[in-house]
């Protein structure tokens, strides 16, 4: 910690070093055992590792359990309305490309009420990290079926079990034109989660990360087998995606998948034989909307000059 004590020797703006504690917001009030805690920790670790200034960082969320996230990070935060985090984040980034923007959504937020925004945000490819914390259920409103609830899984709205096959968010995102980063990870694999978040942050473009997340109250059993049995997990690894060699001891099924290969990515996204984690697809050459639209700003005097020229065309 350099900082205030050195202010006699250095300008006050001297960069200070941020620790994880500097990103600690309000005390998280998720249930004990909720996977969201793990995501919060990994994110704070990333912020510290990347030394992101809290004042230049914005967390945008919708409504739901996971959307409380911004309150628990010491940065600027925007806890908006259900399903609409992505438009708000897009507006922030269009106006202020200098800010680091993270979006935190739940599965209901992203794949149900806000599904249109998910599709279009993927196509806009605005530089931001979009985390979808997928616990396969509506938690805050107490256990209603979500689009990602497995078929046959019982809930308060579908007590005989979910009627339809679960929506596959990775497959859906890969299907969107101009998708540039699509990854999946799991909150019970902290090292993998961290590596994925880091790759998402470093990606130039819209980085969509689906985080498989246990809800200990309503869907504790859905991922139980996968948590207990590492053989159910396949890791997608590549120097252009992520590599987590420390986990090879536990997760022995490692697939050297080139994230530039969209056909292979789609093929793997479709498969249900095991859970695949890692970067499915990544292509930084895709156009970014905010870059395409970015224009130099003008001074007030310049603007008045241009506006008068334009008004001349309508002069009587």
């Amino acid at each position: 910690m350099s900082g205030h004590s050195c202010s006699l020797l250095f300008p006050v703006e001297e960069e200070r070093e941020y620790s994880m504690a500097d990103y600690q917001g309000a005390q998280a009030r998720w249930c004990p055992g909720c996977g969201d805690h793990s995501v919060l920790t990994a994110t704070q670790r990333l912020l510290a590792a990347e030394q992101l200034k809290p004042e230049d960082t914005v967390f945008v969320s919708g409504i739901g359990c996971s959307s409380r996230f911004p309150h628990y990070v010491s940065s600027y935060g925007f806890h908006g309305i259900h399903g609409r985090a992505l438009p708000v984040a897009t507006g922030i980034k269009l106006h202020r490309p200098d800010l680091h923007v993270f979006v935190v959504m739940g599965d209901g937020d992203c794949t149900s009420i806000g599904a249109a925004h998910w599709l279009h945000a993927t196509r806009y490819n605005v530089d931001m990290v979009a985390l979808m914390l997928d616990n396969n259920i509506y938690g805050l409103t107490k256990m209603q079926t979500s689009p990602t609830t497995p078929k046959g899984y019982r809930s308060n709205t579908q007590p005989m079990g979910s009627y339809l096959p679960a929506l596959n968010p990775i497959e859906a995102t890969l299907g969107v034109t101009n998708a540039s980063f699509v990854a999946q990870t799991a909150e019970w694999m902290p090292a993998h989660l961290y590596a994925t978040l880091q790759a998402a942050y470093k990606h130039n473009g819209f980085a969509f990360v689906r985080i498989l997340q246990r809800c200990p109250v309503f869907t504790g059993d859905i991922y139980q087998d996968a948590v207990r049995n590492p053989e159910m997990i396949q890791m997608l690894e590549h120097p252009d995606g992520i590599e987590v060699p420390d986990l090879h001891q536990i997760y022995k099924d490692v697939n050297r998948h080139d994230p530039r290969n969209m056909d292979a990515a789609r093929e793997m996204a479709e498969k249900t034989d095991r859970i695949r984690v890692g970067v499915f697809f990544r292509d930084e050459s895709r156009p970014r909307y905010e870059e395409t639209r970015h224009l130099p700003l003008h001074t007030t005097d310049e603007k008045i000059g241009i506006l008068n020229e334009e008004l001349d065309k309508y002069a009587v």
Partner: protein
């Protein structure tokens, strides 16, 4: 103007060689050009209006628009075109009926006739190709139409537009409009050089050849009129001296937004608001501005709010159905005190309603539309000039009061074209970029002043100001708070700001005497028609005045005191109200005009109303009848 006057003399002399030409001199006159959709009548009308404005005439133009892009040809429902009312002085509304009508077929002419849009004695120039058409059905339709129009006192002149235009172009559908413009230019003695310039501007995106052909057609129409018509109309230009600009209300909104210093507009296409974004699309990038066409109305609101949250105030543009979709987001902006400007260009409703037609039915929805208590500002532009200036006022209020400001316009202002005083641009209008300096230690993001509810806004990038805005109930620190006292206080703080804004306003000025038998209260685009009717009524000795409101929420101060000086107070609006004598209607269950609801609640004065939803602007003559009958009914009591 003087050079034009000499041109007039020359033209008149030439044409008088073989026909005895009658010249009608008038202070105000109305012209309509109607055609099937796609035949360019609107372009003809727009150019005629612009040329007239540039010559120093007062002008008001209204589009006549069918709801479909390509409705069936030769059908009354497909009538498309323009009404242009020109005058010696400023023209503030579209008038009652047209004095001149150019029709490209007899069916669209019938449509206007049946809508009582044509003045008895009007000069009608109608394409005659249908009379001898090879299709017997068409010939029969022509005969039936002429029978219907006979005896209405119109002066109908059959014009071989098709035949003449085919000497220049292969497809006369693409040329009649300029031929018609030529005829009108002769009749109204328009400056041909100005007309050619205006044609060049209208076709600036087309080739030189297109321009040449259009000018040839213009001259052809001018020459035909000179050889065949025996009537000219002289509306002496009486404006001048001041710098003016001429544009429609949506263009004025776009320019106003730029002058207000806003840099991001988010929208989704919706009639009749969309053309604001067309105008911005042409110019905004020159100022570093972005027009974001979002995936839907909701996202448009979200992008604008995200942009506003992180810096300068942004805005979104919509119409009724889109406003309904944005409602939840507007509640969030109000709750979290994020400034935002929303433009609602009203159309007929509810639901899809009358997309291309004027109505003032969104007033209560804009004020009370958000669930929960959501105090914010609603203002309405009354003229095209005010469409421009409202944007500047709205941006400043949104910023100062950290709230949502909804600016109401409507289809009449959006598509109407009128010259107005050229704005003298002021750097102050643009505001300054928000401060990104450090926030004083321990200053909370909602540091509400106990009296005014006002607080300073922090934006991302400001060290020490980190907080999470939320749509949940929150305290000064923006911490989620469900405690009852905090919710009571924060509700009071958000509401107080509106009262503070109200306290900064002056009472509105009464048009006419300060007291009398009847006071007509209006808002929005009806101002010109109401004031013209009031002026005529006063000339006829009736004791009537009018009041026009720009602020609807909060209402302008002093209304009760003004109302008490009149025998009767009533609103005139373009929204629905029950007729007092209709079946089942009582004084208690009567649904009144939307402004009347507000005024009754705010003043406890028994404010009456007269409203219509005919899908067209109000006619001053009709308002005059309303004034007469209400004074006769005992307004003087």
């Amino acid at each position: 103007m003087t050079t034009n006057a000499s041109a007039t003399d020359t033209a008149t002399d030439e044409s008088r060689t073989d026909i005895d030409v009658e010249v009608i001199r008038d202070r105000v006159h109305t012209v309509e050009i109607v055609s099937d959709s796609g035949e360019g009548a609107q372009k003809c009308g727009q150019i005629f209006g612009a040329v007239s404005a540039k010559m120093g005439n007062g002008v008001w133009t209204v589009e006549i628009i069918p709801a479909e892009i390509q409705p069936p040809a030769r059908s009354p429902a497909g009538a498309s075109g323009n009404r242009i009312r020109i005058g010696t002085k400023e023209v503030t509304n579209w008038g009652d009926r047209t004095n001149v009508c150019v029709a490209f077929n007899e069916q669209v002419l019938l449509a206007r006739h049946r809508l009582d849009a044509i003045e008895p004695g009007a000069l009608i120039l109608v394409e005659n190709m249908w009379k001898e058409h090879r299709d017997e059905d068409v010939r029969a339709e022509w005969r039936a139409a002429m029978d219907e129009l006979e005896g209405c006192g119109y002066r109908i002149i059959e014009v071989p537009m098709e035949e003449r235009c085919l000497t220049v172009v292969d497809d006369a559908r693409k040329g009649k409009n300029m031929f018609a413009l030529g005829m009108l230019a002769w009749i109204f003695d328009r400056d041909l050089d100005l007309t050619r310039d205006q044609i060049a501007y209208a076709f600036r995106k087309k080739s030189e050849e297109v321009y040449e052909k259009n000018v040839t057609l213009l001259e052809l129409g001018y020459a035909w009129a000179g050889e065949n018509l025996d009537i000219r109309i002289d509306i002496p230009p009486g404006l001048g001296g001041e710098d003016m600009v001429v544009m429609n209300g949506n263009q004025a909104v776009a320019f106003g937004a730029v002058a207000a210093g806003m840099e991001l507009a988010a929208m989704y296409p919706i009639t009749p608001a969309t053309s604001v974004s067309h105008q911005l699309g042409e110019i905004f990038h020159k100022f570093g501005g972005i027009v974001h066409q979002a995936e839907d109305e909701i996202a448009a609101a979200g992008v604008a709010i995200g942009a506003s949250y992180s810096g300068k105030v942004a805005f979104t543009i919509t119409s009724g159905p889109g406003l309904a979709l944005k409602t939840e987001f507007l509640g969030l902006a109000i709750m979290s005190e994020i400034p935002l400007v929303v433009v609602d260009v009203q159309r007929g409703g509810p639901s899809t309603g009358l997309p291309t037609k004027v109505e003032q039915s969104d007033l209560l929805a804009t004020i009370f539309g958000q669930p929960g208590d959501a105090p914010h500002v609603v203002m309405a532009a009354a003229t095209i000039e005010e469409c421009f200036h409202s944007m500047i006022t709205a941006r400043r209020i949104a910023e100062t009061f950290r709230t949502v400001v909804i600016v109401l316009s409507d289809a009449n202002l959006a598509t109407g074209v009128q010259p107005f005083r050229r704005p003298s641009l002021d750097p102050v209008w643009m505001g300054s970029r928000p401060d990104t300096g450090p926030v004083p230690e321990s200053k909370p993001p909602y540091d509400w002043d106990e009296d005014t509810g006002l607080s300073q806004r922090f934006i991302p990038g400001q060290p020490g100001g980190m907080h999470t805005v939320t749509g949940l109930a929150h305290d000064e620190a923006s911490h989620v708070a469900y405690a009852s006292d905090i919710n009571q206080k924060s509700s009071a703080m958000r509401s107080r700001k509106i009262a503070v804004l109200n306290s900064t306003m002056q009472p509105p000025k009464v048009n006419g005497s300060d007291s009398g038998d009847l006071l007509i209260v209006g808002w929005g685009s009806t101002k010109g028609a109401i004031e013209e009717a009031v002026e005529t009524a006063r000339e006829q000795g009736l004791s009537v005045s009018s009041l026009h409101l720009r602020f609807l929420s909060p209402l302008e101060p002093g209304l009760k005191e003004i109302f008490q000086r009149f025998g009767k107070v009533m609103t005139v609006e373009i929204n629905y109200s029950d007729e007092p004598d209709a079946p089942f209607i009582t004084a208690e269950n009567r649904r009144r005009g939307q402004l009347a609801w507000l005024l009754r609640a705010a003043t406890l004065v028994d404010v009456d109303c007269w409203t219509r939803v005919l899908g067209e602007p109000l006619r001053p003559g009709v308002i005059l009848d309303v004034i007469r009958s209400n004074i006769a009914k005992g307004g003087a009591a």
